[in-house]
């Protein structure tokens, strides 16, 4: 067990898509541990470490907004292409991006703020040069200075996440009073198990006064 880190993240909009509603995307009420891990990895990650999200503090009331956009629809069977290639002509393949459009609505979150509490564990790829202090220092230094590998995002890349480190002795920003009490958020994606053929694993998310305790990944339901 290493020392934990605490990161305050916030943004205008967010979309943590529910896996059962992916076509017309509907976001979960709060950030998933998987998305939180992605944000931490955008700031610092090496194959030697694995981020584990311990706790999520939800700071702002949960509000949704709907948004419809043009997206590209589908794929073309490769057989059509090979046929066209044999014929040496592409103009037979009448399948254009602007005719092949889907308008998809997304139900996204507005004006979100979270504090992610997490720690990292070492993977088998760590060697003796990987000390807990080293990785902890790198992460804290980067988060403090606003450095990142790429700009972290709130679910999808068009919703960038602003972030700031919550220092060890600093208090967590206050949770909005609307979130007090207990709220059952139902089954929520914990993370994807990449070791076992990318199977998703779920957990029962309960929010107590804005705080969600995230069980260890091993205990999540496959």
């Amino acid at each position: 067990m290493t020392y934990g880190v605490r990161l305050h993240i916030w943004g205008e909009r967010a979309c943590f898509t529910r896996p059962e509603m992916k076509v017309e995307r509907v976001s979960y009420d709060v950030i998933t541990p998987s998305a939180a891990r992605g944000i931490l990895e955008a700031i610092h990650w090496k194959p030697a470490i694995r981020w584990c999200v311990d706790r999520i503090h939800v700071l702002k009331p949960i509000r949704f907004e709907s948004l419809r956009r043009n997206e590209v629809a589908g794929k073309l069977p490769s057989s059509t292409v090979s046929k066209a290639m044999k014929a040496g002509r592409v103009d037979d393949v009448a399948y254009f991006v602007d005719q092949n459009r889907q308008q998809r609505a997304a139900t996204i979150l507005r004006d979100v703020g979270y504090v992610i509490e997490a720690h990292f564990e070492f993977t088998p790829r760590a060697d003796e040069s990987d000390t807990p202090g080293k990785h902890l220092d790198i992460f804290n230094r980067r988060a403090r200075q606003g450095q990142c590998f790429h700009m972290p995002c709130l679910g999808t890349r068009e919703f960038p996440a602003s972030f700031a480190l919550v220092e060890t002795d600093a208090a967590i920003p206050p949770v909005d009073t609307q979130l007090s009490g207990e709220r059952d958020l139902g089954y929520m994606l914990h993370d994807i198990d990449f070791a076992n053929g990318k199977t998703p694993r779920f957990f029962r998310a309960r929010m107590q006064d804005g705080v969600i305790e995230v069980p260890p990944f091993e205990e999540a339901l496959a």
């Binding site: 073309l76 292409v81 507005r110 606003g146 990142c148 590998f149 700009m151 068009e158 919703f159």
Partner: protein
């Protein structure tokens, strides 16, 4: 060309006069509105489309600047190009077993397609060339002030169908915003640029595209749109020297004093200031427009 070695953030200010910058398919093509604040919105994908169109125009026949997400193009033909160039047998829906080959494919796509290098692309189609995450990330643009869309009815002195002949004319509708100044934020990651070989030249082209994209996107619906200001923050360090939100906060767009409660109708009704004092060490400001 080697990849860029600095992180960048940019603020783009553009305005629209008597036009519709980005229609909302949910609202019968009315200009997009943020329902909570009535600010106008322009989606990230709308701006990316314009960048792609500009690059396609400027680099029409140049090798290495093809556009993958073309209007009127066929995605899988583009993948085919990669496979044919490298002589690999297409395998359905997965990367070729040989990882080096797969990387070669992706690298080839990055070399040849500007938008794959810049924005990335998911190429997990049946003829697969993998997935690329590009260095350039854009967020939604929203207007500085709430906008009020107007519906303008127009008539046409002709009819489409013969059966309507005696009607002599048809009515139509246009939705316009009298004036709106929009602000978009973007990010360029040096580290992701390394992976797609997004070079300094590519970056210059991106700035040119941002400055000029509306000049080549005139249409009846758009009205008058123009890029008004492009402020680029350059970090000395590839990981960056300051939080992005802090840099964005230093760019202030305010109404000219004494005019705050009147409707804005021109760019000169706004004052843009950059608080250069507040900028942290290691970050320089470049005004491209």
């Amino acid at each position: 060309m080697s990849a860029i070695a600095n992180r960048y953030e940019f603020v783009l200010l553009f305005d629209v006069t008597n036009g519709n910058p980005n229609g909302d398919p949910d609202a019968g093509n009315l200009p997009r509105l943020d329902p909570e604040t009535n600010q106008g919105l322009v989606t990230d994908v709308c701006l990316k489309r314009k960048i792609r169109n500009y690059v396609a125009l400027e680099k029409e026949k140049d090798a290495g600047y093809a556009i993958y997400m073309q209007e009127k193009s066929v995605l899988n033909n583009q993948h085919k190009k990669a496979y044919d160039a490298l002589d690999i047998k297409p395998e359905a829906k997965k990367l070729p077993k040989d990882e080096a080959k797969a990387r070669e494919l992706t690298a080839w796509m990055c070399q040849n397609f500007y938008d794959v290098r810049t924005f990335g692309a998911v190429m997990t189609t049946e003829v697969n060339s993998g997935q690329v995450r590009g260095p350039v990330q854009m967020a939604f643009a929203s207007s500085i002030d709430p906008v009020v869309p107007m519906e303008v009815s127009i008539t046409r002195m002709a009819v489409t169908n013969e059966r309507d002949l005696e009607k002599e004319r048809t009515m139509g509708r246009k939705h316009i915003i009298p004036y709106g100044l929009y602000r978009a934020h973007g990010y360029v990651s040096a580290k992701l640029a390394e992976r797609t070989s997004f070079s300094e030249d590519d970056l210059e082209l991106l700035w040119r595209a941002l400055v000029n994209m509306f000049e080549h996107d005139r249409s009846a619906a758009r009205g008058e749109m123009s890029a008004r200001k492009l402020i680029v923050f350059k970090h000395d360090h590839p990981m960056g020297n300051a939080p992005a939100h802090q840099l964005f906060d230093s760019v202030k767009v305010k109404r000219v004093e004494g005019e705050e409660d009147t409707p804005a109708r021109h760019y000169s009704d706004y004052r843009v200031s950059i608080d250069a004092e507040a900028l942290p060490a290691g970050v320089s400001v470049i005004e491209r427009l």
